[in-house]
């Protein structure tokens, strides 16, 4: 048989590729290839799954539409007895005069063609019920999730994390991976904040205590300011009665940055508005001099300064005994903008850096020890052939590592376990072949004939046996997530590379040793 067969070239190519891909892992920067990607469980970090509460986005859309409807009808002089949100979230419109129904229909088609309307008779009166069509709902849901993703990405970019991975999963979930993060709690608060900034006028004409006991004037609500001491511990809550409608929101913000008050040496956040926002801010402050304006973030009041004068120029400051860090984080969320809907953390996995390093160390030790045992056993049991199998085993690990680096796959703790397991199972193919060769020898075949028969007969069995493990690994890959997926990948790679080493590489070595010589082989070392 020719030595320079396809096997020879296949092995050469595989070896060269493996070395090219594995080297950067040991010597980063050697060439621009990637190193082996470590999973969060090995390098430490945080994995979050957020649920975007899209219902809230739908709700606020309906809220806005209700206002628009009312305004628009007033402008068109269509008289109504009520325009209100129904318990099911839709909008119910009752006309003052039933004969206006045709005018109203024309109005609806002109002004709100993207909403479905149904006529209902309620208490002998006519009611039009507006609802959002299902495609529009889906669109709002999709937009809310995508916008949330974008906002969160901006916040994380500003917070500063190396190689964050942020992506949408399903319809309304966002997966965030932050490797090597040092302040997981702070990052979580930064990500989870809706950051809806609102300016609301404080209703000082009414007593807060009265409102708290039940007599709330229409169109107002109670919000609280949380007081904290220097270490950030909550010391008390101050209630304010504010008008429900915001006079201005963070949507017209262009910038937010941390500055330090020279007088009190306290950090504050200075914000600037766009042109339209600045004009609005000037008008509002002009109209409400000597009143207090509450600066509300996610329904918490940060501060409620008294307006001394008309403020022009489009700049304002948010004060409220911040720590430097707190002010910085607030500036980040304000700059990145509000989330279109609140998000909820529904899964969190944080691994500290110590645990990750420890896991790697222990994984490597068990790999060395376990592998050592297997190598020793194979060498004793199969002698010469065992040594060949051992080379294949070592190369197996090299191939798995190189393939992980080449495909940009992630090595996880179960992945290391998968590699260790592969060490045990990888000898299977070789064992099958060697046992076959021994059988053939026992049947009285010549050594070379036994080798050929052994490989040929074992090949199909090896393929069959490994395909099933491959199926299990693929199913795992499909259904698993995170570390489990990492395990599936290493298992797959392990199966493929052990088949390659046993069927191609070991065979090549056998061919070189026994077939290359023209003299007769008297005995096999097996």
């Amino acid at each position: 048989m020719k030595i320079r067969s396809w096997r020879f070239y296949a092995v050469c190519v595989a070896l060269i590729l493996a070395i090219i891909y594995i080297l950067p892992t040991f010597n980063p920067g050697l060439w621009p290839n990637k190193t082996i990607n470590l999973g969060l469980d090995l390098q430490g970090g945080m994995h979050l799954v957020l649920d975007v509460e899209v219902e809230k986005a739908l709700e606020s859309t309906m809220e806005r539409r209700t206002y628009e409807l009312r305004d628009q009808m007033r402008r068109e002089r269509i008289r109504y007895t009520s325009v209100r949100r129904l318990p099911d979230g839709n909008i119910g419109v009752r006309l003052a005069d039933a004969s206006d129904a045709d005018i109203f229909s024309a109005f609806h088609q002109k002004e709100f063609p993207d909403m479905d309307v149904r006529r209902h008779t309620v208490d002998e009166g006519l009611e039009f019920r507006f609802s959002i069509p299902i495609e529009e709902k889906n669109h709002i849901t999709k937009m809310a999730t995508e916008q949330a993703l974008e906002t969160i990405r901006n916040r994380i970019d500003e917070f500063g994390v190396n190689e964050p991975d942020i992506r949408i999963q399903g319809e309304r979930r966002i997966i965030i991976q932050l490797p090597g993060i040092e302040e997981p709690e702070r990052a979580k608060q930064l990500i989870g904040k809706t950051a809806l900034l609102e300016f609301k006028i404080v209703e000082d004409s009414h007593d807060v205590q009265d409102a708290l006991t039940g007599s709330m004037p229409p169109g107002t609500e109670i919000l609280y300011e949380i007081r904290r001491d220097a270490s950030g511990q909550e010391t008390g809550r101050v209630p304010y009665l504010v008008s429900r409608r915001a006079v201005l929101t963070g949507a017209s913000l262009t910038d937010a940055r941390v500055q330090v008050d020279s007088q009190f040496n306290e950090p504050y956040v200075s914000i600037s508005f766009d042109r339209q926002g600045a004009r609005q801010f000037e008008r509002i402050t002009g109209e409400n001099i000597h009143k207090r304006m509450a600066i509300v973030l996610d329904n918490n009041i940060y501060s409620a300064p008294v307006i001394q004068d008309r403020i022009s120029g489009g700049n304002a400051r948010i004060t409220g005994n911040f720590t430097m860090e707190g002010a910085r984080d607030l500036a980040i969320v304000l700059r990145a903008g509000a989330l279109p809907a609140p998000v909820k953390i529904i899964e969190e996995r944080t691994v500290g850096p110590t645990l990750g390093a420890e896991s790697i160390r222990k994984g490597l030790i068990s790999m060395l020890v376990g592998g050592g045992f297997v190598l020793l056993f194979m060498a004793v049991y199969y002698k010469g052939a065992g040594l060949v199998a051992n080379c294949a085993l070592v190369l197996n690990i090299l191939f798995i590592g190189a393939a992980l680096a080449a495909f940009g796959a992630t090595l996880t703790l179960p992945g290391i376990a998968g590699m260790v397991l592969t060490l045990g199972m990888a000898v299977d193919a070789n064992v099958l072949i060697f046992e076959r060769i021994r059988e053939e020898l026992r049947l009285g075949r010549s050594p070379i004939a036994a080798i050929h028969a052994g490989f040929d007969r074992a090949t199909l069995t090896i393929l069959d046996a490994n395909v099933t493990t491959l199926i299990a690994a693929l199913v795992l890959f499909q259904f698993g997530s995170g570390p489990v997926k990492g395990f599936a990948v290493t298992l797959c790679l392990g199966v493929l590379s052990s088949m390659f080493t046993a069927l191609v590489m070991v065979r090549l070595v056998f061919d070189i040793i026994y077939d290359g010589q023209n003299k007769k082989v008297a005995q096999l070392s097996i």
Partner: protein
């Protein structure tokens, strides 16, 4: 060197009655234990809640830990302590989940430090909300089901050349599992429990394999199910938590057990071709014996590395390697004592 002398002929098939009793006993024991423990003990992945791993450099007073947790409103948490190397580990489990603003997780090490006077370091936090844990549970079940189904399809295709037949059967079952709940949900507003659905689908597919005479697929399939049930049962007896890595371990066991079964089946087919006057039982025995060396060596090396992983791999990988250890032993046993007798049984039925 040789472990098994050539020409060894142990009568494995002759011991099938004893094996059947053993298997039945183990399966009954598993089911009994599961009933007694009210199902498998789910970890955070499948039950939801929060699990926090804290390490101390010195032994810590458990009374102080409990009172700290009480103060923080975590009175219902369970605490498990263990030692690893020079550090002491506390595993705190609660069914609560915390949102970003609660700050509890940030406060925990600080409070623990205050009360115990020892430095506490949070090693890891796993928090899984109820929706996610429900998703993970059904995902895991589907994974087990699909793996089992695909594998049986492959076997009946490979060994009996009935690719189309078994693929068609599998296709029907996949669509049953996929479509039936949706139909029930949409038409009758009944949501079926997934375990029930999958169990029904599995039993149905085994019945069909039996009726169609797909002996190899049936043998391998039942051996697999046997392994999965016994592994789960043993976990229940040992009170090991079910988490995602354990599912990975079970799927690996399925792959491994099948690996073993297929190698014997391969030999059976080969020996059937040059059968002579031997009975089917004799062929089975011969095949098992001929592959016995390989079975022992491969299982042996695998067990060897699993034991090192179990001893040296550290706490996180402990349950995972234990699952695999159990699985490799049961998987090897089932290939010989479950899969082969079923093959024999079906062959007798078909009068071969």
């Amino acid at each position: 060197m040789q472990i098994i002398k050539p020409g060894t002929n142990i009568d494995f098939i002759g011991k099938r009655k004893a094996a059947m009793i053993l298997s039945a006993a183990m399966i009954l024991f598993s089911i009994f234990s599961l009933i007694l423990h009210k199902g498998p003990r789910y970890g955070v992945d499948f039950a939801g809640g929060t699990q926090i791993l804290v390490s101390f450099q010195e032994a810590v007073d458990m009374g102080q830990v409990h009172s700290t947790l009480d103060q923080m409103g975590l009175g219902n948490a369970t605490v498990q302590e263990s030692r690893e190397g020079r550090s002491y580990l506390l595993q705190i489990r609660t069914i609560q989940t915390f949102d970003a603003d609660s700050g509890i997780l940030m406060e925990l090490p600080r409070r623990l430090h205050e009360t115990t006077g020892l430095g506490a370091e949070i090693l890891s936090i796993d928090m899984v909300g109820p929706q996610i844990s429900k998703d993970l549970r059904s995902q895991a079940l589907y994974a087990l089901f699909y793996a089992l189904l695909f594998i049986t399809v492959y076997i009946s295709g490979r060994f009996e050349m009935k690719w189309m037949l078994s693929a068609a059967v599998a296709g029907v079952f996949v669509s049953v599992v996929y479509l039936f709940p949706q139909i029930m949900e949409n038409l009758f507003r009944i949501s079926l429990p997934i375990p029930l659905l999958i169990l029904t689908a599995l039993i149905l597919s085994f019945l069909v394999f039996w009726k169609l005479g797909l002996a190899y697929a049936l043998g391998a399939g039942i051996a697999l199910l046997h392994d999965v049930i016994i592994t789960i049962g043993l976990f229940s007896v040992l009170d090991i938590e079910f988490n995602l890595p354990i599912i990975a371990a079970i799927l690996t066991i399925m792959g491994y057990s099948l690996n073993d079964t297929i190698i014997i089946f391969d030999r059976v087919r080969e020996n059937l071709a040059s059968r002579g006057k031997k009975t089917f039982a004799a062929i089975l025995n011969q095949s098992i014996n001929e592959t016995l060396s390989r079975t022992i060596i491969t299982s042996g090396t695998t067990l060897l590395v699993l034991i090192t992983l179990f001893i040296l791999g550290g706490g996180i990988i402990h349950d995972f390697s234990r699952a695999l250890l159990v699985g490799v032993v049961v998987g090897t046993y089932s290939s010989i004592f479950v899969a082969c007798p079923i093959l024999l049984f079906l062959h007798k039925k078909q009068g071969i």
